[in-house]
Amino acid sequence: MSAPDHSPHATPDAASGTGARVPPAPRGLRQTMSDLHIWTGLLLGWFLFAMFLTGTVSYFKEELSQWMRPEIAHQADQPEAAVVAGRIAKTLETVAPGTTQWSLRLPDERHPIANAFWRVPPKDGAKRAFKDANFDPQTGLKVAARETPGGEFFYRFHFQFHYMPVAWGRWLAGLAAMFMLVAIVSGVITHKKIFTDFFTFRWGKGQRSWLDAHNALSVFGLPFHLMITYTGLVTLMTLYMPWPEMAGIESPAMKRQLTSEMNAFLQPAKPSGEAAPLASIEAMVREAERRWGPGSVARVTAANPGDAAARVAIARGEGGRLSMSPQYLLFDGVSGRVVEEKQGVGAAAETRGVMYGLHLGRFGDGATRWLYFLVSLAGTAMVGTGLVMWTVKRRQKLADPERPHLGFRIVERLNIAAIAGLPLAMAAMLWANRLLPLDLARRGEWEIHVVFIVWALALAHGVLRPPRRAWIELFALGAAALALLPVLNALTTDRPLWRSLAQGDWAFAGVELVGLAFAALLAGLARRVARHRLKGARPGRARAIGTPARPAADTAAAVEGAR
């Protein structure tokens, strides 16, 4: 946050008053914290920006997934969960015969389609051990949709990135989150006048304005920023700190017990080899709903279905409860009787469950989700303004603004690629989703490749063009890509925006409307950068003609003084 160049608090303390030769003033706490804030913020700032932005849109990942699978029709009303579960369980008998395990996610308001995955018996010779499919809740039959990762990609990317082993990505995300935590705490200490300057914004004052904006974005959302960073670390704590588990969990039985405290995934035991029909899944879901309320069941998992040793777990969803800790009913798959009821977990596991739940925000209604989205977006802007400020502050001190030193140029170009390039790359994925041929091999992976190809091109653009032009062009391109999304969709599907609106399909329409809002935001940024240039160029028109255009008064500065 505030990073005063001459901190009044850095006045010499003990040594100076002696009258002897004054030693160089020791650096005060605030100055030290300011340096810490600046450098922890910068070093992984681009990762943090990407994590924040993709994480922000992940609050609407179900809606994005719906938009990216236009073949799956909008469901105005959902049939009863128990009926759906029963229907699809029947279908699975023929779709996945002889499987040792299937797991079915029931549809809900935000996720209108059921999907299931199941273990493929090894003799099948298939390489993957699991298969999955979508099912229509109305008919219980398999539905085909284009191959796409959907909104899930942004969600996964935001904590494990891509093109690297999952564990590396998660470690990197954890490191970035630790840096973020340090940056938040040091930022609060650095910010001298949180309360006095709470509502302060000084327009058109260059670095001062950037600082005010950065402070406002940080302070207003401070509870959220702290919570999201800390709980983000908690979600992956068993990866980051495996030692307690290694020390304390000695037997496979204890391991199983630990797993059951963390999630409701049912590991299949050894089948008996004796065939026995699966009892009514519908009745089991009804029993669970009797205890938790209607619409509360999220997932049905069957182990060894069709075997005498079958078990079925009915897991409760996340709606209306803060905690992500598992709650489930375990049924004997043949008799249909409850054999175990998991209603809660130990205090430590519950603490983790609540923190996990807070991070994901899935408990909330639509309004809560919007609050998460907006404040998280402010967090994204906080990181973005912080990154830009690093260059704004240093530009004034450059010996030769025409030829900034290498470090400055690197930061500046990476800022362009991250802040202006990523929104464009994300929009590109939505375009790829509509434009890639449906029968393309590994189509889902190609949608992701497109994101990174476009992002790499944006980086190249940012490096090759003068920075100011690069900012404007990339922002404008991103705005265009998002603004034209409804047109693209109207041309490539039979679900244009006006029809979605008429049918009250808010998930589908919402993606395009929010896209338009983002387009307006990016266009506004592009315009701001462009206008600043005009203003700066006005007094020196002759010079602009006579000499090569002043290279890159750079956006940072551009936006900085723009009126």
Partner: protein
């Protein structure tokens, strides 16, 4: 409904707190308010924040309520902030 009511009250609260600062008084009223008026605004602001908290927690319980409340305060503070900027800009 709870969300809307709470958000509205929070906007009122932050507007009062903002008007309790000298800078906002100068910007909006072009004069500073008396010390008593400033203190009254500050009290009103904090009281409204507490009232909103009571409403949200009453409706949603402590767990969900605190989460919602934290969102309402953040968004409301942002709205008041934008309002002040708009006001400042319109004056030129």
């Amino acid at each position: 409904m709870t969300h809307f009511a709470s958000l509205l009250i929070c906007v009122g609260a932050f507007a009062a707190l903002a008007m309790a600062t000298e800078r906002a008084q100068q910007d909006v009223l072009e004069r500073t308010l008396s010390r008593d008026a400033t203190r009254a605004l500050r009290i009103i602001g904090w009281a409204l924040l507490l009232a909103s908290l009571a409403i949200v927690v009453g409706a949603q319980g402590w767990g969900l309520g605190l989460v919602s409340y934290s969102g309402h305060t953040s968004v409301a503070a942002g709205l008041v902030f934008l309002g002040l900027i708009a006001r400042q800009r319109r004056k030129g």
